[in-house]
């Protein structure tokens, strides 16, 4: 893991920034979110993929791509969370003033 982060920090930073941007936008975005049911399915899928990665059942290049995707996706989600929280903080701080 440490090896991957040092080897591909550029791509990981990219997905973190993408997450930040998406999180930032998502607070003020109007429109349908993902339904609860869907979230459950997606979470289950994520668990399955993480389990597959940890148990190293996917061989060769596909295994590597899965690992890479999962790490990048984890950072994307972190970025989203931080971005959403920051935007929410900015919005809630400026709302009373307005």
């Amino acid at each position: 893991m440490a090896y991957l982060t040092t080897f591909f920090w550029g791509w990981l930073l990219g997905s973190l920034l993408l997450g930040l941007a998406m999180g930032w936008i998502s607070i003020v975005q109007h429109g349908e979110g993902v339904s609860k049911n869907w979230k459950r399915w997606l979470a289950a899928l994520a668990v399955v993929l993480v389990a597959a990665a940890l148990s190293r059942v996917v061989p060769g290049r596909f295994g590597y791509w899965l690992d890479l995707g999962l790490i990048m996706f984890a950072l994307y989600l972190c970025g989203c969370a931080v971005g959403s929280w920051l935007r929410d903080w900015v919005v809630s701080r400026s709302a009373p003033a307005a």
């Binding site: 991957l4 997450g19 290049r61 590597y64 791509w65 996706f73 994307y76 969370a81």
Partner: protein, 464 residues
């Protein structure tokens, strides 16, 4: 926390650029990552001794195939690859180098090259043997057909190096080491080489032994070439020792009265028994040829060349083999020199005088028995007599002044008669010859010195 869960429902549109980013990352990073891991794995195995090593990387999984020389070595090699940062899985395709039973190593020499074959215990000992072979054989091509195997006996390298040293002493042949038994065959490069190899094999490391040593000595060669143009007799090859050398050269000097003896002989051990007893008469036979080559190879004597007349050829063909010690073979290839053009009696006399000026017909001391060393001279006298068939020849015997004159007179007559008999036996008509003896009455030099006496003891040919 609840907010976070609520907001997360709206994060999905970012997944589309994320997937693109992911695909790009996967697209560009896979090859460099694989190359990097392959290189790191190779570096990790740098100090491990392995054969047929192959590393293939797919993603972060390393397929590692190799042949190890011990189980510990194999496990530690796999562990080193597994410990390389970034490696996810190691597909272990390693195995142990096959065990050779019996463990056979060989070195074979032929005309052009030395081939090292069989098994070698480690790559390092293999390269050590190749280097040693190149150094010892200086310039000879060395071909490596060795494979690697486990199960070599202790001190294998030392034993193999010693055997390589022996292959350098062979002209051709094979040395095989099977476990700790050594088998040798072939022919030594030089006389004495076989003995040198046998002596060196005593230094084999402990536990090793010689199962069979069939190294043959090279043939013991002696050659003599009589060159009528350069008027030389060239001796080459081997003689048993310095005494035999001196005796042989002295014999050659007596038998070849007009040729210069070029002595290129070397003393060496390994002569067949009866060497001198065979070579001296063979040289005598060569002295009777106008041109010829004598080759003595072990116990085989080959004499080829041209005799001066038919009877001489027959005598040499039939007679020489009988003079040899038992077990010796004689292979004559004698032809007869074309008869020279006839000359008139004056020229004949001149030729006789020339020949007898160079050498004298020699007899046993105080007797009328012609010494074998004079056969070459007598053949030339006979050849000359054949060239003037119409001339009558007086064979004249003389002695020095030692002893009583009646005895000298009788001896000179007997000696002249002995020569005449020899000529008649060679096929010349008896009626052409008269033999006369003058005792010591016609000296040509003073009888007060040994040299002068030697000159006076003579046979003259006078054409009438």
């Amino acid at each position: 926390m609840h907010g976070l869960f609520r907001w997360s429902g709206k994060w999905w549109p970012g997944v589309i650029p994320f997937v693109i980013l992911w695909a790009l990352a996967a697209w560009t990073s896979t090859a460099p990552l694989e190359a990097d891991l392959a290189q790191r794995s190779t570096t990790a195995l740098k100090d491990t001794v392995l054969d047929k090593r192959r590393i293939a990387v797919a993603g972060r999984d390393v397929t590692f195939a190799a042949e190890a020389f011990s189980e510990e070595g194999r496990l530690s090699a796999v562990a080193s690859v597994d410990a390389v940062p970034g490696v996810r899985l190691v597909n272990d395709e390693t195995r142990l180098v096959p065990e050779a039973k019996p463990f056979v190593w060989s070195a074979e020499r032929d005309v052009v090259r030395v081939t090292l074959g069989g098994s070698s215990p480690l790559p390092s000992s293999k390269s050590k043997l190749m280097e040693a072979a190149r150094a010892m054989l200086g310039g000879v091509e060395v071909s490596d057909r060795m494979n690697l195997a486990r199960g070599a006996p202790q001190r294998f390298d030392n034993a193999a190096l010693l055997l390589l040293d022996q292959i350098a002493k062979l002209k051709d042949g094979k040395i095989t080491l099977s476990d700790n038994k050594v088998t040798l065959s072939g022919m030594a490069r030089e006389l004495g080489g076989r003995e040198a190899i046998a002596a060196a094999l005593k230094n084999l490391p402990e536990g090793y032994s010689v199962a069979a040593n069939d190294v043959k000595a090279p043939p013991y060669i002696f050659q003599a070439y009589k060159d009528p143009v350069a008027v030389t007799l060239t001796l080459t090859g081997y003689v048993p020792d310095n005494n035999a050398h001196a005796a042989l050269v002295a014999a050659a000097g007596r038998k070849f009265f007009s040729e210069k003896v070029v002595d290129n002989l070397k003393a060496s051990i390994g002569a067949p028994s009866g060497f001198a007893a065979a070579v001296v008469p063979a040289l005598g036979a060569l002295s009777r040829l106008s041109t010829g080559t004598l080759v003595v190879s072990d116990r085989e004597v080959k004499l080829s060349g041209d005799a001066l007349y038919e009877a001489a050829a027959t005598q040499i063909r039939a007679g020489l083999g009988k003079e040899f010690p038992q077990g010796w073979q004689f292979k004559p290839e004698i032809s007869v020199k074309p008869t020279a053009a006839p000359v008139d009696p004056t020229v004949c006399q001149q030729l006789f005088t020339d020949l007898l000026g160079k050498a004298r017909i020699r007899f046993e001391s105080g007797k009328a028995d012609i010494v074998a060393d004079s056969a070459g001279l007598l053949d030339r006298l006979i050849e000359t007599a054949l060239r003037c068939p119409n001339a009558n020849i007086e064979v004249v015997g003389h002695t020095d002044s030692d002893g009583e004159e009646p005895a000298n007179q009788a001896l000179s007559e007997k000696r002249a008669q002995a020569v005449t008999d020899y000529l008649v036996k060679a096929g010349l008509p008896a009626n052409r010859f008269t033999s006369v003896g003058y005792g010591s009455t016609q000296p040509i030099a003073g009888n007060d010195t040994d040299q002068g006496k030697a000159q006076n003891r003579r046979i003259d040919f006078v054409v009438r």
